[in-house]
């Protein structure tokens, strides 16, 4: 717990420093509204098998559109607000949550997107395919990080928790991937200039 807090605090501190340096005060209202956007999209549930439903995490989407450090900041704010206002996720687990869903998911998604993008070239289909891989990977990597944290803290043995978490989230990630792709193709079709923003 203390470790994830330290890493997350460092990550968020660096994100804050970069945001202060590279973004003017112009970006602050925008990022605030995007945090509200992530919050609001989490209200749109889609059906998964067997009567359950899931929603978008959004880290991959923000990372692809605005860069990993913005994703860390936006997701941290969403998670802080969730733990304080909705009592969802917990105040003591905040360090771990920001680490998993902000840092791991944001950076994982961003570099997966860059990597597959550079392999596939610069066309519309490449952007869509790498968007899917990045979004799927963000969920998958975050779940693996979470499983390792649970195992290290001694709640459950790693042999049990790693396959269970990774397996379930490999499926959940498909939903995240498909929605991210749908969002990306809409943005590409209507305001393609938003995909060429400066990313930090």
């Amino acid at each position: 717990m203390a470790t994830t807090y330290a890493v997350s605090a460092g990550g968020v501190a660096n994100a804050v420093r970069l945001a202060n340096k590279k973004l003017g005060e112009k970006q602050v209202p925008l990022m605030g509204i995007l945090a509200a956007f992530v919050f609001a999209t989490q209200m749109l549930n889609f059906p998964v098998a067997g009567g359950t439903s899931g929603h978008l995490i959004g880290a991959a989407l923000v990372a692809i559109l605005l860069g990993p450090w913005v994703a860390v900041l936006v997701m941290s704010c969403v998670l802080i607000a969730q733990s304080l206002i909705f009592q969802d996720g917990g105040l003591l687990a905040l360090g771990a949550n920001i680490f998993n869903m902000g840092i791991i998911a944001g950076f994982g998604a961003y570099y997966l997107y860059r990597l597959t993008g550079s392999l596939l070239g610069d066309n519309r289909r490449a952007k869509v395919v790498s968007g899917f891989i990045a979004a799927w990977g963000s969920v998958f990597l975050a779940s693996i990080a979470c499983a390792i944290e649970l195992a290290v803290s001694g709640v459950l043995p790693i042999g049990v928790v790693l396959p269970a978490m990774a397996g379930v989230h490999a499926l959940i990630g498909i939903g995240e991937g498909l929605i991210t792709v749908a969002v990306l193709s809409l943005v590409l079709a209507t305001r393609a200039d938003l995909l060429k923003l400066q990313r930090i």
Partner: protein
């Protein structure tokens, strides 16, 4: 539209609501820490924590039924995470069952851990409900800023708080439009529709962000937000914070020696 899902009841006046947000935030954190670090078998300590929480909830004059309902909303998620523990924890077997092909057994120590996680989560949730339903979010953010939360984060959170309601209205309009056009059909089709809705929401949010910034610059925004009300840390706030912390320390020490 009116949305009551954020700091509801936080505009009510009470002894707790009048306390300084910094005092409340720090004691809440302290309370959660004390609860989490309490060993599983100390029933008396949990009873005392609950009594403490119940007293403060009564003093805060937030409707009891609301607090109860709100605290139960989150418990299914805790249960979902913790439900597997009794099956995997090693120890004395409380019962074993055959489910289809698997032989599963539940252990006493596992059940204790499960029960303990639920009690701790519930107490922590209660303390956070008390915090947010007696403190306006703007006040809480001001307090957090003085407790050295980075300025960018405070600004982000306050923008988020202000525009969340607008975007939720936007989502509801999108949903209404979708439902009036016979939403349904195959799952892939549904995902596509939701993707389009989120994409639309993103573009609208982005454009709104640009407009908001332009409007703010036109009114002299220079990166700082200035407000008229200042926080005052009074003697009563110090008494509350120190008194409650002493009670928590006392409970922990009592636990350690008896």
């Amino acid at each position: 539209m009116k949305h009551g899902f954020l700091d509801q009841y936080s505009d009510r006046d009470s002894i707790i609501a009048r306390l300084d947000p910094r005092a409340k935030f720090v004691t809440t954190l302290f309370f959660i820490l004390a609860v989490v670090l309490t060993p599983p078998d100390s029933w008396l300590a949990y009873a005392l924590y609950f009594a403490l929480m119940a007293t403060m909830l009564l003093l805060s004059r937030v409707p009891v039924f609301y607090v109860f309902k709100r605290s139960l909303v989150i418990m299914p998620f805790v249960l979902l995470v913790a439900i597997f523990i009794p099956f995997f924890k090693e120890g004395e077997v409380a019962g074993s069952y055959n489910i289809w092909l698997w032989q599963v057994s539940v252990t006493y120590s596992g059940l204790q851990v499960l029960w303990n996680i639920l009690v701790k989560a519930w107490l922590s949730v209660l303390s956070l409900i008390l915090l947010t339903s007696t403190t306006k979010l703007t006040q809480l953010l001001k307090g957090l800023e003085q407790l050295r939360l980075p300025k960018v984060m405070v600004m982000l959170l306050s923008f988020m708080y202000r525009y969340l309601f607008v975007l939720v209205d936007e989502v509801m309009r999108l949903k209404q439009a979708r439902d009036s056009r016979n939403f349904g059909g195959r799952r892939l089709w549904q995902i596509r529709t939701i993707g389009n809705m989120i994409g639309t929401l993103f573009i609208r949010s982005y454009e709104r962000g640009e407009r908001v910034y332009a409007a703010m610059v036109a009114r002299g925004f220079d990166g700082r937000s200035r407000t008229l009300d200042r926080l005052h840390f009074r003697r009563a706030d110090a008494c509350f914070a120190i008194g409650l912390s002493l009670v928590l320390v006392f409970i922990s020490l009592f636990n350690l020696f008896y």
